[in-house]
């Protein structure tokens, strides 16, 4: 671990604004990532995830605001700041006429690794990403998934303190996705800070301990995954009726208090705002009073996907 300290923050972003002509991709984004955290950066396409990551890695300059890696301003001292970072951004082009060994040897030197360490790390990393037999083969012979795994391997090569991954499982088959998920979890155990963007919410819930929701260039939530999922407002009631509800029945269901948003599909309804136990009994009584034929009545947590949709909806 380096001696640089920023109150335990590996990444600190302050009021980040990025404009592309008339388009404002980021509208004053601020957050901190503590050392050792695995943070999922969630948002739909166009939310500003990749823009943030490009700003974190000095591929873009901010219109306004600052980015710090281990307390070092990325724009002012990118060399030092990025010496702590391994990154995978979008779908990088990889020099197809080179071999993984040639490519990694060069980048190992860039990170000031010794020749001996480079040789060891290449073997280790390629074996981790299941490319051990391909060390001396030209990359142009690789499939899309193999190239993706190689790019992840390159990010891991210097054993960075901070790993920044943009959609790491994109283009991977289910087996590859599982392996990357396990790899990220394993890295998390080593106290590596991981900041990963994704629109695959399920992936994030399985790998990250914290999550940032980004919507149209603004952060709409940032907390521990567990805390977010446990929060009463993020719980709901799932009700099954004997028959699909008629329009009148749906309207009467929606008019009930303290029922919040209601999503009806066939003979099932998901009722927001119902997570609080003190409301549950009341809601059940009201449903029965209305003559709705309730078959089952369950309390459940929203998954990140539902949560994201509701958070995004609140901001629209």
């Amino acid at each position: 671990m380096n001696k640089t300290s920023d109150n335990g923050n590996a990444i600190r972003v302050e009021n980040l604004v990025k404009k592309f002509g008339d388009l404002t991709a980021l509208k004053g984004v601020s957050f901190k990532v503590k050392k050792g955290d695995i943070v999922g950066y969630l948002g739909p396409n166009g939310a500003g995830k990749t823009t943030t990551i490009k700003l974190l890695t000095n591929l873009l300059s901010p219109t306004f605001g600052k980015v710090y890696i281990n307390g070092i301003n990325v724009n002012k001292n990118p060399q030092k700041a990025l010496s702590y970072v391994g990154s995978l951004i979008e779908v990088p082009g990889i020099y197809g006429y080179l071999t993984p060994n040639e490519l990694m040897t060069h980048f190992g030197k860039v990170y000031r690794m010794s020749s001996e360490r480079i040789t060891k790390r290449i073997k280790k990393v390629l074996s981790t990403v299941r490319l051990g037999d391909w060390e001396h083969k030209k990359i142009e012979e690789f499939s899309t998934g193999m190239k993706r795994r190689l790019a992840i391997g390159m990010a891991l090569l210097p054993e960075p303190e901070i790993l920044i991954l943009d959609e790491p499982v994109m283009g991977l088959d289910p087996k590859g996705i599982k392996e990357i998920r396990e790899l990220i979890n394993k890295l998390g155990e080593k106290e590596i800070t991981i900041f990963l963007s994704s629109h695959l919410l399920q992936e994030v819930s399985l790998t990250c301990n914290k999550v940032i929701f980004l919507f149209e260039g603004e952060i709409v939530a940032y907390d521990d995954v567990e805390k977010i999922l446990e929060a009463p407002e993020h719980k709901r009631i799932s009700v099954e009726f004997l028959n699909p509800l008629s329009k009148d029945e749906i309207d009467s269901l929606r008019s009930l208090k303290p029922i919040g948003k209601v999503k009806v599909e066939g003979n099932e309804a998901k009722i927001d705002n119902g997570g609080e136990k003190r409301h549950m009994h009341k809601i059940l009584s009201l449903l029965v009073e209305e003559g709705l034929e309730v078959v089952s009545f369950n309390y459940e947590k929203k998954d990140l996907e539902d949560l994201y949709i509701s958070l995004a909806g609140e901001n629209e």
Binding site: F20, K54, T57, N58, L59, L60, S61, P78, Q79, K80, L82, S83, V85, S87, I89, E90, V91, P92, G93, I94, Y95, Y97, L98, E102, H106, F107, K109, V110, Y111, R112, A151, M154
Partner: protein
């Protein structure tokens, strides 16, 4: 104060090392893409064809070493342009177009060092190709006529071609830094020196304006320094365009130096300014 000084020196040392890494990486890339091999074969072919073809067809060689050298060296310009376009044409633009910059740039390597390394690697390979061409030509002259009589002029031509090469590389590097597509920057680099500048030269000469500010105006010195022998016109183009004017040798050196330095700095500036959007 001492600590600050040490830090500055360490940074300089680190930047030099980054440049060295960039040169090494670029040379490997050129080699793996067979570009170096292609350029060397082209240099060997062009340099030997003026001896091999007349000999095989019993056509008879030039009467003097100067004539032979002048004919042979009139293709140096073409070789420089081809090599320059091959090695510098996509050197910056391709990193953005092919998204390889997403791997190359977010690293602790100084961006200036990356681009300077790319420039130097292009110049090194082109210089090697030109040197091979001159070496083969020198061997031919020595074998047929004896090199001693024109050694000074021959070296002068070689040194001038190196200077011209740097001007050409800077121009092509500049195009690569400002243009989005590799094919556009490569072709523009190639055709600017092969056609566009010469056309401007011709037009300006026609309207009696001396095209002293055009790089290609001085390319003829590569052969003209061979003690008054004028290119026979076998090269990519004859010197007839500029017949009304006589380019000044020293003036030419300054103009080419201007192109080399100014366009290199400008290219570096724009390459650094570019972002992976």
């Amino acid at each position: 104060m001492r600590g600050k000084m040490t830090e500055v020196l360490d940074n300089i040392k680190s930047d030099f090392y980054d440049t060295y890494l960039s040169i090494k990486f670029e040379l490997r890339k050129h080699y793996r893409r067979n570009r170096i091999q292609m350029a060397v074969v082209l240099a060997l072919f062009l340099a030997s064809v003026f001896y091999v073809v007349p000999t095989l067809w019993n056509m008879g060689l030039a009467d003097t070493a100067e004539e032979f050298a002048s004919t042979n060296l009139s293709f140096v310009n073409l070789l420089i342009i081809i090599s320059g376009a091959l090695f510098a044409g996509d050197v910056v633009s391709s990193e953005f177009e092919n998204q390889t910059g997403l791997i190359l740039f977010p690293t602790p390597q100084n961006h200036n060092s990356i681009f300077v390394g790319k420039y130097i690697a292009s110049a090194m390979v082109t210089l090697s190709v030109v040197t091979i061409y001159y070496t083969v030509t020198a061997i031919e002259i020595q074998y047929i006529y004896g090199l001693f009589g024109i050694a000074t002029e021959f070296i002068k031509s070689y040194l001038f071609s190196i200077l011209y090469m740097f001007g050409a590389i800077s121009l092509i590097f500049f195009f690569s830094s400002i243009l989005k597509r590799s094919i556009t920057s490569t072709l523009l680099g190639f055709f600017s020196l092969m056609m566009i500048f010469p056309i401007f030269e011709a037009v300006l000469t026609m309207v009696e304006v001396e095209p002293w500010f055009l790089l290609s105006y001085y390319e003829g010195f590569i052969t003209d320094v061979l003690d008054g022998v004028v290119s026979t016109g076998f090269g990519p183009r004859s010197r007839e365009f500029a017949a009304g004017f006589a380019p000044d040798f020293y003036h030419g050196i300054y103009v080419i130096l201007g192109y080399t330095i100014f366009l290199f700095i400008l290219g570096l500036y724009f390459a650094n300014k570019r972002r992976m959007e």
